[in-house]
């Protein structure tokens, strides 16, 4: 692969903390290699800021392999940037050319308050899982794994839903800031497996209730979430969640204790 260097202009959201109103700052970065990842480009910028005695830009990241779900930038208006099914950390600079201007913002949603600069608080996702995104089985209670054959097709579909990395790009992409894709991915993962069956009704009702409590918007089937999801989580999952939900409500809703 041929590589090249480029100079870029970056417009980056700066915000001291959740109370600050925030603003864009503009930076120039030079000699960025096309082989760098987008976050390595940010490393270069931050090193530059530190060498000038300034504060670097705070951003979330950890694995840099597209699996932990920590990285979370809106790049030129798109959560995780221009590449389809790619997290911010896996976007590479060969997408850009010399002279480009790139705008970078945090994932925005009422339920994701900004902590600093590009870092937001996504603990609402943990609480949605706490509301029912699990199978109640204590350690030591399990039977032999192969005593419960599961059709390959179902197992594969459950896996596809379970591949969600909990990044929140679906929320950032949605005009309503709905977390329906994330929630439906978990509901589907567990509803598709026989192990998840006993709790499927209370699970969906409690998780949806928590979704509302956290201040996420409602789903109006726009589909922006699926388009921006780095893991290709299908919007079919939302349809499944709705079916599960309606089924559970017809059954008298949930009076769940965990």
């Amino acid at each position: 692969m041929e590589h090249y260097n480029m100079n870029l202009t970056l417009k980056v959201w700066r915000q001291r903390n959740s109370k600050d109103t925030g603003h864009f700052d503009t930076f120039q970065v030079k000699d960025i290699s096309s082989e760098m990842s987008f976050l390595e480009m940010f490393d270069v910028l931050n090193e530059q800021l530190v060498s000038e005695g300034k504060e670097p830009i705070a951003f979330d990241h950890d694995c840099r392999e597209g699996i932990c779900g920590m990285c979370s930038m809106v790049i030129d208006g798109q959560p995780h940037g221009p590449w389809g099914q790619t997290t911010t950390c896996q976007l590479h600079m060969r997408h850009y050319k010399d002279g480009d201007t790139i705008t970078v913002e945090p994932f925005r949603a009422n339920a994701f308050p900004v902590i600093k600069d590009l870092v937001v608080d996504r603990t609402s996702f943990d609480r949605i899982i706490q509301a029912g995104g699990y199978i109640s089985v204590n350690t030591g209670n399990a039977v032999d794994a192969n005593s419960l054959p599961i059709e390959k097709h179902d197992a594969d579909e459950a896996f596809a839903a379970a591949a969600c990395i909990g990044c929140g790009a679906c929320v950032a992409a949605c005009p309503n800031a709905s977390a329906m894709l994330f929630t439906s991915a978990k509901v589907s993962h567990l509803a598709l497996l026989p192990q998840g069956d006993p709790e499927r009704k209370t699970r969906v009702v409690n998780m949806v209730e928590q979704l509302d409590k956290e201040g996420f918007g409602g789903c109006t089937n726009i589909g922006a979430c699926e388009a921006e999801c780095p893991k290709g989580i299908s919007i079919e999952n939302i349809a499944r969640l709705n079916r599960e939900y309606v089924g559970a409500m017809l059954d008298g809703g949930s009076k769940n204790t965990i």
Partner: protein, 658 residues
């Protein structure tokens, strides 16, 4: 000798069973009054915290990421081992035990490894019950694949995302306990000190990374599940935040550090592309199932890979190790790659790479697929298309990752790979009960020196982390806490807490007040270069001695010239990183000291002075059949204590994969 490994007496087969049926228990009413602190929520921490919460203990968990689900365990790709023998290929508890001992080059404890093999099957059962979607066959039963260093298929997997699925399973179990009120979860918190009272671990000082506030937390016991320290090399396959800080603080508070020099260099990673590189990406070992590794037979051959004819390729692993071929253990495969590149046969722009080639696997799978579909005389193009489909189903996400990073299509051209730092077998020394040499302080998962000896076999870290958390600590912790039921929660205004908090605060103030000229990142990179060049894949006496002096000098420079921007009372990632790099600068020195002490080659520790004529590692069993457990006596002052290893069942021999 202060170290007591507490290995139960009796037959190897019976030790764990006997332990479980004779250890002390804590009754449910008392459990409610016992506080347990769990640092880290990776596989080890999440599984431990969930299980202990279920049992009724009052648990607090801490992690530095924004959610437990983001722990580095999430990135594990290839799979998890278990002695299920579902493939009917002769697997058994004994064989898993034996493979792990041999794979570790006879530097692990027999009793621990046997226990690991015993509980391995329960792990798979537990995970399936939680809804972990492992790969399955058409008949609905679980699928297995092979991994390096073994001749059976015992690895369970979920595409190339096994760690993710296992961690999500443990995370969900943990969140359930949070919902039930049995566990309190602290995210974006970093533990920065262990609090000891009367010789026992009684709590921690943690920093709220959002507000910068220091917090005191009491616990009747403290569990460190804080992962490995591969990032001491700067470049590694570990997540950016992985660090040694928690383990290092424990070490400085009296916990011995076991075998710090045992580092695993993984043979198949995407090579370094330039100075900007911030981390290295693993290409799972599972790829060696089907991929073939080669370099050109001619030195400095500059042709494109696909232009080099078959007879001019050197499949050096198949040539040197016909019995295991491309599936030799990691240390062996890594050294062989280095040997070829050092000898001038490397490929790619940097010449520091070898090929991992899928072309023959694609054709092999394509033909069998055509057969299945009843296509007679398929065209070459058809075979290739069908074969690609099979490979995609097995390894699609890894191939995609490779393409995103390098811009090259691995279905068409062989991948370029090179070894990279991946895992640390060394860690806090623990006894059979996973207790460190500080009473009440435990270490689980990659953070302990554990079960892998001098080299870990693929798919064994996930197994060990979950074994420790789900199936070992629930028993061994009870054995300790049974004697603590009369200990009332100690108020955190106790002087030990005050002192510990002060020392943390002083250090933060110091880091911020240096206001030097060089960034934390730059110091980290410089340390990494020293470690990689002198304490990496090959080590020698002179290099290690130089490294020790260089690290000491670098550490001095750090404390005089580092620049940490921002303040202590806000979200400040540079400050977090500064503390971690400061600890790496101390650990690096100990790793070199340990490597210098160990005048032999074993597993991942390769001393150039000790090799056979064919370049294989040469152990010195008469002198070094021990765990090197280092005690901290002050800066640059470490004292060696030895735990002798006894092999009652397996007879150590020269490891051979030929």
């Amino acid at each position: 000798m202060t170290l007591n490994s507490k290995i139960p007496s009796g037959d190897l087969n019976a030790k764990w069973e006997t332990y479980k049926s004779t250890c002390k228990l804590v009754n449910p009413a008392n459990k409610r009054h016992l506080d347990v602190i769990v640092i880290g929520t990776g596989l080890a921490g999440a599984s431990a915290a969930a299980s202990l919460g279920e049992m009724g203990y009052k648990v607090k968990t801490f992690c530095f990421q924004d959610s437990p689900r983001r722990a580095h365990s999430i990135a594990a790709q290839g799979g998890i081992n278990a002695a299920k023998n579902y493939q009917n290929d002769g697997d058994s508890t004994y064989r898993l035990f034996y493979d792990t001992i041999k794979g570790g080059d006879y530097r692990a404890r027999e009793a621990n490894v046997h226990r690991l093999a015993e509980v391995s099957a329960n792990i798979i059962d537990q995970c399936v019950a939680q809804g972990v979607p492992f790969a399955r066959e058409y008949g609905g039963l679980l699928s297995n694949r092979s991994f390096g260093g073994v001749q059976v298929q015992r690895t369970f997997y979920a595409a190339g995302q096994t760690g993710q699925q296992l961690l999500i399973g443990a995370y969900q179990a943990l969140e359930r306990q949070v919902a039930l009120g049995n566990v309190t979860q602290y995210s974006r918190h970093e533990m920065l000190e262990v609090v000891k009272i009367d010789g026992k671990a009684r709590g921690i000082i943690a920093r709220n990374l959002v507000t910068g506030e220091l917090e005191r937390h009491f616990g009747h016991a403290v569990l460190l599940c804080t992962g490995g320290y591969g990032n001491v090399f700067y470049l590694s396959t570990n997540a950016m935040g992985s660090n040694v800080t928690a383990a290092w603080k424990a070490h400085k508070k009296g916990a011995h550090f076991g075998n710090p020099c045992y580092t695993q260099i993984h043979p198949t990673c995407i090579p370094v592309s330039g100075d900007h590189q911030s981390k290295l990406t693993l290409m799972s070992e599972s790829l060696r199932n089907d991929g073939r590794i080669w370099v050109p037979k001619a030195k400095g051959d500059d042709r494109k890979a696909n232009d080099i004819p078959e007879e001019e390729r050197d499949y050096y692993l198949e040539r040197r190790y016909p019995a295991f071929g491309n599936l030799v253990p990691r240390d062996v495969a890594s050294r062989a790659a280095k040997e070829r590149c050092d000898a001038g046969y490397g490929v790619g722009a940097s010449k520091q790479a070898v090929y991992l080639d899928y072309s023959s696997a694609i054709i092999r799978y394509g033909k069998s697929e055509a057969n299945k579909l009843g296509i007679n005389n398929p065209s070459d193009a058809q075979v290739k298309e069908l074969g690609k489909g099979v490979v995609e189903a097995k390894y699609g996400n890894l191939f995609e990752m490779y393409e995103k990073i390098t811009g090259e299509n691995p279905y068409e051209v062989p991948m370029r790979i090179y070894p990279a730092v991946h895992y640390t077998m060394g860690g806090l020394w623990v006894d059979y009960e996973l207790m460190t040499s500080v009473e009440g302080l435990y270490a689980l998962g990659e953070a302990n020196f554990s079960d892998h000896g001098a080299n870990r076999l693929g798919a064994s870290a996930l197994m060990q982390g979950l074994a420790d958390g789900y199936f070992v600590i629930p028993y061994t912790l009870g054995n300790y806490l049974a004697d603590e039921i009369r200990t009332k929660a100690i108020p955190t205004d106790h002087e030990a807490f005050v002192e510990a908090e002060k020392s943390v605060n002083d250090r933060i103030t110091k880091l911020l007040s240096i206001k030097g000229k060089e960034s934390v990142e730059s110091f980290h990179k410089r340390l990494g270069k020293i470690m990689w060049n002198k304490c990496g894949m090959a080590r020698n006496e002179q290099g290690l001695k130089e490294a020790i002096t260089e690290i000491q000098a670098l550490r001095k420079e750090f404390w005089e010239n580092v620049f940490v921007p921002g303040s202590a009372d806000e979200y400040n990632p540079e400050l977090d990183k500064a503390g971690r790099v400061a600890d790496f600068l101390e650990l690096g020195e100990l790793m070199c000291i340990d490597a210098l002490n160990r005048n032999e080659s074993c597993g991942g520790h390769f001393r150039e002075e000790y090799q056979t004529e064919e370049g294989e590692a040469m152990r010195q069993d008469d002198k070094y059949m021990y765990v090197a457990a280092w005690k901290y006596n002050g800066e640059s002052n470490f004292e060696l204590e030895k735990e002798d290893l006894n092999y009652d069942v397996v007879k150590p021999t020269q490891r051979s994969y030929k």
